[in-house]
Symmetry: D2
Subunit: 405 residues, 4 copies
């Protein structure tokens, strides 16, 4: 074990990170600082404080922060400006939370003079990469402790035994075999993976889903909502201005009620294997659709296509943990620049799992009824122009056909 003096641990208060807390003390003989963030996972944070105290952490070494607004404003919304989807399906709910946690953890490390940071992500997943790329980018000399890659507590039994010996309180569910899935939640989504889901053939059980009712159980009548955008971000819902995290919370509530945003997919992890994941992203699913809707009338065609061409790359960067990389920032500068006229509102219909745009308008609209109409346009558009347009676009193909046939 290398020589560590003080380590900042991303601490949830749950069994795993409590074991890590003790193991860090044991294995590294170092001072442990805990950091617990509210990013909308929907859990009380004070129990984490109590547990940390109980495990011997000094009060001044316990950091608990409400990061919900920052999370949505500086991470979720910027990502949605790009209509970001990974591999055609996944809205990146987990991926987008990690960079913020890494950033805050490093801030705390700088503040308390810690030389190391630690997290509870396993050596098989993406989260370790996302945390650690963040750590290294923001504090290049920091030491990173990833217990799951170091210790020998690789089975459930060993972990429980260690916990027991360390005096860590163990909830009944853990003794009974543990959760059937690994879950992770924040304001954007809740995810499920592992165990019962490890067979891509097996349908997910209805009881697994937490944030959304099933479409079958959703109301029998549709609900219409109006979302207003400014520079690509949603700012008002049904006429009421909301802060970013309030907006997303409200959209989650609406989406959840109408059975919106469930996903069951097999994705490609950055570390090289395929993995099955289930996700509930009720608010995000609505937001993506609405943002596409407002862009459809306010964004120039070629700018939109440029964004579409870059989107998958941008999504991979976030999925793979490169939020703090210079290439993600360069893309963000482009994306943000394109949003200056993305203003206006979209009317959305929510019904039994479905989200559809039914209406949209903007003072910055590029839709020009005079030009678009198939009726008489009074000369706004000269149809004869299309002849030359087509002929020159066809020219290279005509020359080739003539020369080579």
């Amino acid at each position: 074990m290398s020589d560590i003096k003080k380590v900042v641990l991303a601490y949830s208060g749950g069994l795993d990170t409590s074991v890590i807390l003790k193991w860090l003390q044991d294995a590294y003989q170092c001072e442990v600082v805990t950091f617990t963030a509210d990013i909308g996972q929907g859990e009380e944070l004070e129990p984490a404080r109590a547990k940390a105290l109980q495990l011997g952490i000094k009060p001044e070494n316990i950091f608990i922060d409400d990061l919900r607004e920052e999370f949505v404003r500086d991470f979720v919304f910027p990502m949605f400006r790009a209509n970001t989807i990974y591999e055609g399906e996944y809205l990146l709910g987990t991926s987008i939370a990690r960079p913020l946690i890494a950033k805050r953890q490093i801030e705390i490390a700088n503040q308390v003079g810690a030389d190391a940071v630690s997290h509870g992500a396993t050596g098989k997943g993406n989260d370790q990469v996302r945390f650690e790329l963040g750590y290294y980018a923001l504090k290049p000399g920091v030491k990173v402790i990833a217990p799951w890659r170091e210790w020998d507590l690789l089975s459930r039994e060993k972990l429980l035994t260690y916990a027991e010996q360390a005096g860590i309180p163990i909830e009944m569910k853990h003794k009974q075999g543990g959760a059937p899935y690994s879950m992770d939640a924040n304001l954007l989504h809740i995810s499920f993976e592992g165990r019962h889901l490890e067979d891509p053939k097996a349908e997910a059980e209805e009881s697994m889903w937490r944030w959304t009712v099933s479409p079958e159980a959703a109301p029998d009548s549709p609900e219409y909502i109006d979302i207003e955008f400014e520079q690509g971000d949603p700012v008002a819902l049904n006429g009421v201005r909301l802060k970013p995290h309030e907006m997303l919370a409200k959209l989650n509530e609406l989406g959840g009620k109408h059975g919106i945003g469930r996903l069951d997919l097999v994705e490609n992890r950055y570390v090289g294997m395929k993995s099955r994941g289930c996700y509930e992203t009720p608010g995000g699913t609505i937001l993506l659709k609405a943002h596409r809707g407002i862009e459809s009338i306010t964004l120039d065609r070629e700018v939109g296509h440029l964004k579409d061409d870059l989107m998958a790359r941008y999504a991979s960067l976030i999925y793979n943990g490169y939020w703090w990389s210079p290439e993600r920032k360069a893309l963000q500068v482009l994306i943000d620049h394109t949003q200056q006229h993305v203003n206006g509102w979209v009317r959305i219909k929510l019904y039994k799992g479905g989200v559809s745009v039914v209406s949209r308008d903007s003072k910055d609209t590029l839709f020009d009824q005079t030009i678009a109409t198939f009726d008489d346009d009074g000369g706004a558009y000269n149809q004869a122009d299309a002849g030359g347009f087509i002929k020159l676009n066809a020219l290279r193909m005509r020359i080739a056909a003539r020369k080579r046939s």
Copy 2:
């Protein structure tokens, strides 16, 4: 008017192309050959023959072809291998039909020795481009007559007057102001645009939709279907092998029944303006989801990402009418190559407008449960490898942070 001897007209039998038929005879004093194709638009074709005869076309100059199988096999399915979507939403139902019509029209022109072709698309839309780029690519010296860009029948009244004078039978609906939308259908979709839809703020009327029930009117119980794929194409439904056009017809029926595949959007036309379109693509919506599902377990990650990075470009090529271009063909060669292992089946849930993948399997799966599991994997994956993986991926950011802070 240039000197045309014989022209092949893409003839639907409807009012507009009947007027064009007469106008071609009048204006160009040339022999007219009509070509009517069944691409699944759901209309009888024999009335078109009768009408052509009635308008003076010689029997040997009337061509009526059932192109449904070719359409789905050689155009729709190849396009779906790429998970093609234009501007994040549109499944390209109209775009993909035009190249086939152009190709067949040129074949007929070559067969009958025609020197010109003609179509009924307006000078404002994309279809003129799609037709004509096809014509020029396949027969570079052909003359193209686009009546809407040439004549002066630009108002509805003038058109009706001309029809009346030419002895073209006019259905009642045309006299009563015409359809509230311009519609176009084939096996992949039915589209609506123009007139009542020209205000993006106005919600589409429920009565507009033809192929799908509303989600509200769909069955209250979900239906599960199994789709089997071979090399990226669907080949069997619930265990029954189907020809391409049978497959798509069956999926349309299922999708229509469950209210699946309605779209209301504003798109960017190639000729430069924004346009509002509504689409019903019931079978295609299911197919896209299913194809993504089977690819998720059979396609290599980087191959999938390469496809995703190229998809928007490929979609634009089809949307803009470049099916017969060398660049579309080059992309197709790549896309087809990637599908050799895209075999297996996907279980899909259909419910009130929603399509979800609940299960998937393949003898060619790349999902490796031993590697993926969070439980003990018996050494199949060495978690310590991730440490080096992350450190080298972070190296450039660490150097930059160290050098520049």
Copy 3:
């Protein structure tokens, strides 16, 4: 002819634009305003004023501007930040000058209350597109008069006859059959196309080249120069700070002396045909190499690759005339953002047509000798990390090979 009151003509003072000047007066019966710019083409501008006066233009309608600094600062240098090359070869010397002329022409039109603009580019080339896309983007309602697409003076004889009748002085060279090439020059390059060059088999004659000596005639000893960059732009040469246009002029002088920057190629025009062009870009050729050199030590790898992936698209936008488009601007924002640390100097060797970087350094260098060395690095880099890095990068291929063999 539509109703034009006042037109601003891009006027060189040469025969063609003088004929256009008269033709505009004749055909449109409108007031003509001439605009002549110095963008470094190396010609006196006062003769253009004299000729305009002689052709009846009012003094207040003659605009002559020295745009050299603006040209290099706001057009050439931004383009070089992207290492822009069209089709692997062409440095876009003509393309980059047109947007500035269009912009200034529109400014003048607004100032003098003109309703139209006109230029002397033919209907076959790229320049008409570059001019007119600029006009329309900056003043959407402007009327554009492109005489070459309108008039019937399509042969040299007709043009000369018209000129004679209009009292336009004709230089001897025009009477003797005209130049063997069409030439165009600005501070970035001089181009040759047409006539003698229209056979891609025929080698260009040595006598054609103007700005560069042949490599054979260049000095027998190499010359070394140091170029200093700030934020991606060259700011000093051999320690002497220079303004943008001074820098480019000086590099042209050096490059010309050493036979640098000749190009003979066949390019693809936007209007659809292939065209043979010869170019001399002495300073630009040096600058491109030097910029790559300074980026090589100051730019992050992935940012550099992102730029490289976007470069060809950016080049096409400029070549095709989309400088004033929102998509070019969006890309520029990204490109400019990446240049903030592109500071430092590069030593360049010039010798008989060759440009090579022999040395480079920067206070912002990302080159880390401690890490890079193959000698003992004192633990800066842990070679064992590479094992994990490779294993995880190989994982998907190993799984595929195992599953499918």
Copy 4:
């Protein structure tokens, strides 16, 4: 040390791989099979056999292959079809040789029943990645021994001591401090890196270069050569048909004589650091220019642009070692498809480090003089078409300018 029975070592016969040979025997107590390939590095191979025998390798365990033709035909030429350049400069001479060595090594491993392979690349460079990704892709269960990442012979002294004790003959140069650079050669290039080059400020010494004379020392008269292409590959030089490796050897000779193909650059390694490299690629430099030249008249514009857009990605794949990956193969399928009409010849001028295309022709040319000419074209191209072309391309910008100003 894990349990290895038989290992195939990529063996050059030099000091380093001889030490590795002994170390493998010592550390793993396993049977060593040596593989030495002629890929045009310009060294005798029989000394390697003698040395292997001397170090105790059984004759049947010594493999020596002449892979020159396969190397150029199946690796170098396919790569040049894409005009491949890494980071704007590097022709990938080292990168492209590794996949072949890996492939042959695995073939031998399969033939002799070896369970492991080994190479002499360090833990800091790209070559370890290129070798090992190849091994794993082609034989997923193989064990890889990378001695430089495992042993403790990290200083020159330790290595020499080990060699002495193991009875390995040591050439004088090693005792005198070793070469001032690390060199690697094959038919495509010779590379130099490390030691004296580790300061990017320091100009490379003239004495370093091996394959090329300096431009200053090159002949004072230019030499013209004709290269003929078939389907994108060079097949004849000055009218003489040559096999792939003969062609490249001949071009190397010509290029070397004229001082062509020297490069001095700083590149970004896949493992995360910047590295300074010098390269001589005389034949490749000529070939790249010539291939661009023949493509310029035979390749469709949009196909060429598609290739340009993908080139940097393809180059990175090769640089990073992904030759055997499915995504490289998918891109290759596209690239190869585009070359079917890339036939014809190019005349090249070689002079003092410069390569220029002066003439080109092809029976498959797409250059159409009738269309391209600025003289009277007899109506082949209708200039008026350009008006419509421009107007529709400008439409979206005009609408935006009108709506937003």
